[in-house]
């Protein structure tokens, strides 16, 4: 059991009379790449919100590195090593691109990496180079293109030095080459030993990236395993006609 980085067991989340998540089980091992797919409204973002603490699940338990984090506020979970990007990018608009990264570096990364305050800018630049935003370091974060905003979202999550990074539809609406950009970015995380949950509708990216694929339909997990067998699963095909 201690091999599991993230353990989601029997998580149920209701909004009034509507059940968004119904007894969902999910595990992620250290360094693993998990693709999470499912039709719109199937509960993927709700699950992410429960894992990260933006929402509280009514039933079930969420364990990270063996510890129950259900009572922890979001910022503590980030400090423990769970970072996420937002489906609709939420940059800190009054700050430059580089300053956006200072926040997670100062508040989250410090927990597992001794980072002196004067080294923060250097570390931020290093991450920006990794994602290809180095030339925009001092640009205002409010005027970026779509793909750059997505990169900033992911860069900000990476700057928290997580052990698990959840990427929430970072590729939605992007062109093929932009998708490849993001894909390369996420793939590099594997080298750093960071586990990734990729939530996407772009099937070719999911297939290329994932070690394992899980499928969520109307709040229930209907498949979980090797990518090839999951997409061949008749129930999956029935419930969710993927793209590409």
């Amino acid at each position: 059991m201690s091999e599991m980085l993230l353990e989601v067991r029997g998580v149920t989340k209701r909004f009034g009379g509507f059940t968004a998540l119904d007894g969902v089980d999910l595990v992620v091992r250290p360094g693993e790449r998990l693709g999470l797919i499912g039709p719109n409204g199937s509960g993927k973002s709700t699950l992410v919100n429960c894992i990260c603490g933006a929402l509280r699940n009514e039933e079930g338990v969420i364990r990270f590195e063996g510890r129950d984090i259900g009572a922890q506020p979001t910022h503590r979970r980030t400090r423990l090593g769970v970072a996420r990007s937002f489906q609709i990018p939420k940059p800190f608009v009054s700050m430059s691109v580089l300053d956006n990264l200072r926040i997670p570096l100062l508040y989250a990364a410090r927990q597992h990496e001794k980072l002196a305050t004067d080294r923060v800018a250097d570390e931020a630049m290093r991450i920006l180079r990794q994602v290809g935003l180095a030339d925009k370091a001092h640009a205002r974060s409010s005027g970026l293109t779509q793909v750059d905003m997505r990169k900033l979202e992911l860069a900000r999550a990476m700057a928290a030095k997580p052990k698990l990074l959840i990427s929430d539809e970072a590729m939605a609406g992007l062109s093929a080459s932009e998708v490849d950009d993001i894909l390369a970015l996420l793939s590099r995380l594997k080298q750093q030993g960071v586990a990734v949950i990729m939530i996407e509708h772009v099937m070719r990216a999911v297939m290329k990236f994932s070690d394992r694929v899980a499928v969520l339909v109307t709040g229930r997990k209907i498949a979980d395993g090797d990518p090839q067998s999951v997409v061949a699963n008749t129930e999956v095909i029935k419930a969710y006609l993927g793209e590409q």
């Binding site: 990260c52 933006a54 506020p73 979001t74 910022h75 503590r76 980030t78 400090r79 970072a83 996420r84 937002f86 939420k90 940059p91 800190f92 608009v93 009054s94 700050m95 300053d99 200072r102 926040i103 997670p104 100062l106 508040y107 989250a108 990364a109 927990q111 305050t117 900000r156 700057a159 928290a160």
Partner: protein, 315 residues
């Protein structure tokens, strides 16, 4: 410029102003300047929670009055001098900020704003019913006959204290702005959920911000009972404090310590002139109209214009 250097410069300027003031013969200057400086402190304090953190406080009058009435209460109970009542009033107001923050900052910003207004009304009712500090009739706090430091009149001392307090407030605001704490506040202001997800302990930082903001607003009120030697609830809790502490940072610019200073000096001076030439009701109307105009048309204030102009020049 480091914070220490800035502090040294600020206090040096403050002392210089206090000393130079002895050359001024016009006594009206002192009461007008005292009021303007009071607003510098109030606006700077408000902006720590308002502009830096993004939470609107409608109850500035409550914190101001806490500072004022702490002075009154301690004066009546122990004949406490200003050197005691200033830190005491600041501390009590800080506690009020802490309490209000702890109760309501978990919720949406609008609830904090309404609760702050509620605090002002509740406190006002409480003070009106509290006979020890004079209740609705008001309280008298006599200025000491001996003025220390060889100053000519007591109002000169009050002026000097206000200048130093204003310097202190500006130093604190600037120190916050450039610190890690200040970056965290800015993240909360820009996007609280994203800040929380980036590891910022949003509730803790908000509460600290509310405490500091409340404390400094209280500090602004601690010398007020001596200003007219008399204080009563309606003037201590005047709506003018609430609207000015919002209008001044808004007009000056809410992103930096310079905004509230500019806003307070400009708007404060205009008000002193209008009040004397026209009336105080018209004065307040002008402030209200300026507030609405700026918030709809120029929400980044004067500093925003400067920034935009600078950016256009560089591009």
């Amino acid at each position: 410029m480091s914070n220490r250097a800035f502090a040294a410069v600020a206090f040096a300027i403050a002392l210089a102003i206090a000393a130079a003031s002895q050359l001024i013969a016009n006594e009206f200057f002192f009461s007008a300047a005292y009021t303007v400086l009071l607003y510098v402190i109030l606006a700077t304090a408000w902006n720590i929670l308002g502009g830096y953190t993004g939470y609107v406080n409608f109850g500035s009058a409550a914190f101001f009055a806490i500072g004022a009435y702490t002075t009154v209460a301690l004066f009546y109970a122990f004949k406490a001098p200003l050197i005691v009542t200033i830190p005491a009033g600041t501390a009590v107001a800080g506690l009020a900020g802490l309490g209000l923050g702890y109760l309501t900052l978990r919720l949406r910003g609008v609830f904090f704003a309404i609760a702050s207004l509620a605090l002002a009304v509740v406190l006002f009712t409480f003070v009106v019913n509290w006979d020890f500090v004079g209740g609705a009739r008001g309280a008298y706090v006599m200025q000491p006959s001996e003025v220390p430091f060889g100053l000519k009149r007591y109002i000169h001392l009050l002026f000097a204290i206000e200048v130093l307090m204003a310097a202190a407030a500006l130093v604190i605001a600037r120190a916050i702005e450039t610190s890690t704490f200040g970056r965290g506040l800015a993240a909360i202001r820009d996007d609280e959920l994203a800040a929380e997800s980036a590891g910022v302990p949003t509730l803790k930082l908000k509460i600290i911000s509310a405490t500091v903001s409340g404390a400094l607003m209280g500090m602004a009120g601690t010398t007020f009972p001596y200003y007219l030697s008399y204080i009563e609830p309606s003037s201590a809790f005047s709506l003018s404090y609430a609207v000015n502490s919002i209008a001044m940072p808004l007009i000056g610019g809410m992103m930096s310590w310079m905004g509230p200073l500019i806003g307070a000096v400009l708007l404060g001076t205009v008000q002193q002139l209008v009040q004397v030439t026209i009336s105080s009701a018209w004065n307040l109307l002008i402030v209200g109209v300026l507030l609405v105009l700026f918030v709809t048309l120029a929400p980044n204030g004067i500093m925003g214009w400067v920034e935009a102009w600078r950016r256009r020049r560089n591009s």
